[in-house]
Symmetry: D2
């Protein structure tokens, strides 16, 4: 049985719109508009347990998944949603033991998702020219317990990666096309290139760059996610939805 | 460097429409409409290498990813596409070390994708009442080298899972709603339920069953994937596309 | 040349987010956050002309289209968007001279769109049990100059239409399935039934009712509209979009 | 009552996949894989009537709508679907009495849809440099009884329209951006420009050209149509769908 310990993060669930990601510490309180909770009371209870606030409102202490951490991470300009990250994982074949380059690090949201999957023997090399971003990312990654699997590199990806023979290179940056050559060099034979871009002009330039190198299976897709309201006599897709996050381009290196 | 060995599977890539998943053996030939290849010639070469057929046509020897194995697996009635599996992985938090129940096994396509991610310490318990399916699945899983992480159980999921405390239960079957109670019992606190169904009636019944148990964050979504043709002055989404595979319903157990 | 006259409606365009639908009268002012306009100044000018506000900001006096009136009409519960109305028109074959039944009238938004198309010899018979709605609708229809083509009937459509031999019956109401029989009776042979419903349960019941009558070509569709931002190096679909308005079911009467 | 006459077109409906658009003539037969029909038997019967083939199979004689004629028209390269035409009609405000320029004519499919709506006092001026297309189009338009409302002009639209003060200009051609200036000149103040293009590069160039003229409300959209299978316990969107036909760009002229 998985019991909550001092120092664990929990996701306190009030309802589908309101959750809190917080570290459990003896004596610490969480104040909400539905009353406050004594976090120490959670210690020793199983994840999934109910706790009552001072106003008698029930919260549930969920074990945070990576997707919860993604949802709580403040994003930079361009945003990969879980739908995009999920497809990226399956498309690039990132799994336990894989070595992956990421550029840029940003807030570390994608870095965490990658690190979670390459455990325990793989490694994520995450490049960003902005060292301020990387210190925020480092804190997020550390809190998620994923630091052992990540190496943050404060360097412009355009200047080259100092890592060789990686299984995948993932670009989540404004100008991926200038990195294609460096990505090719860093990849192992048969390794997978991936790039996420919000605009079609970025995609055009990236695909054009890919075609000047020995890549096969060049593919660009976008994913549209619809939430469905499922209630008796009210079943229908949600009225308002995210219509676009970005395009995902992938390719495989050959020699 | 990752070199091709006797007994390795390779994905021989001719073009974006034609690939071959085949085991490399000394003396074995692959016959195609573009000539034949001597597979033994690949031994000792790095993945990603080019090889010529007897007619001088170039093939590339890619290292198979799980998505390649999915594409080559003959499916049963309902089909989860890589887009669905990717979202399932991120939504359920399946990663290294996780213990997962799957029902039904079918051809083992999803089983392979799950097993690949839970390595090396996790485990997939895959139930199917149809033992014939399971022997096909066993062969697929074995070929992918994933047998150590999978336990196939020939049993109707409606009769209960004999496994307790799993991190996720994933239902890919015609009547998921009758399994909700067993899924609840098998899950650890805060564990994730997931069900994939092509029709909205299946979704209605499943969500209704979930609401009679202590589940939170009940969500139903569908994913629409669009391929984009990216060529100078011809950039546009593909004309013909897969419009629907199925709905994915997820929820988290509380107590 | 089409000149603006006293009493004409104009659509004053400030920018893509802000327009005003207003009647031109000598001496009348329009007050906006960008200054006020003397509406009388527009008289005698061609539609499309620029006018300056008291603060020197340019507005354009556009000739209102039906879609502008739709956008300015306060809607009831369920909302047909221009995309839905456009498809409805082409699917039902509504055009000049056609006789059409609509239920319910609501705010008269769809009524106006139908009346505009059946001019000058056709007619729209619009039923609503709620006479309060109909007086609002009457005002909207009158202002658009479409009253000669519309007959508003304060009656519950479930009690039967007193009109026979219409080319199309269009249902935009909560319980279309109870009206299917009356719709069949009112339609001419080969006439078209259409129903717009937000939820899938409404669709299921309506299609089921259609199958108990002699209808062919029963079709249910939904339309998803994406706005594309087209700006150099920023071209992409809009981030936030309307994901769902409703389903449109159509069928043709045979005997 | 609308009775079938000698010389009328009928749409003979066998099932949702098989229909025949044919002219009724005494003594004429329609041969199908379900037997032959004596078309003369239809004369004097109401539209919507059932007729039996020589093999006893029932066909229904529907009155052709414009959408039926669209479906039976052989298309050129780029294809506007009914969804696109419906939105075009509502977006451009094309209705009875409107004067419209179209370029190019192609097979006359869109021409028919426009002519049907502008009846009886409006007019469609349809330009195409290819006179061979126009003779095919003329035959289609004539058969639909819409010739009185259409003027076919064999001329390259890039050389200018000889028509002035039209309510809308609609471009369905490979290079709409070179026609923007001529479209501006031909439009009445507040008139609507519309262009349909399959590729995003066409859209970029067209929007760029629109921005160099006095147009407001420049909008680009695409419409995605999903058919829904509605059958008890099998309700779901269709598996295979048309993912893309083209983008529709509209704008309004100001002065």
């Amino acid at each position: 049985m998985d019991l909550i310990k001092e120092g664990d993060d929990v996701l306190l669930y009030l309802d589908d719109r309101k959750t809190f990601l917080i570290r459990v510490e003896e004596g610490r309180q969480l104040h909400t508009h539905k009353g406050y909770l004594q976090l120490g009371e959670l210690i020793g209870k199983p994840f999934g347990s109910a706790v009552k606030s001072s106003l008698g409102v029930t919260f549930y202490a969920l074990k945070p998944l990576i997707r919860d951490r993604l949802a709580k991470t403040v994003r930079r300009t361009q945003v990969m949603y879980p739908k995009d990250i999920g497809y990226l994982l399956i498309r690039t074949g990132i799994g336990p033991g894989k070595r992956v380059i990421e550029a840029g690090t940003g807030s570390g949201a994608l870095t965490m998702a990658l690190a979670e999957q390459v455990r325990p023997d793989g490694r994520v090399y995450s490049f960003d020219v902005n060292s301020e971003f990387q210190s925020i990312a480092a804190a997020n990654i550390d809190r998620a317990g994923l630091s052992p699997y990540v190496e943050l590199v404060s360097k412009d990806a355009a200047e080259g990666f100092d890592v060789q023979g990686v299984d995948a290179v993932i670009l989540d940056m404004a100008t991926p096309w200038v990195i294609v050559s460096n990505a090719y060099d860093a990849l192992i034979g048969s390794g997978v290139f991936a790039s996420f871009s919000p605009t079609i002009e970025q995609v055009m330039k990236t695909v054009s760059a890919l075609k000047t190198h020995r890549f096969v299976e060049i593919e660009t897709i976008e994913l549209i996610l619809r939430k469905i309201i499922v209630e008796p006599n009210r079943t229908r897709p949600e009225t308002l939805m995210i219509g676009h996050s970005g395009y995902l381009t992938t390719a495989r290196k050959v020699s």
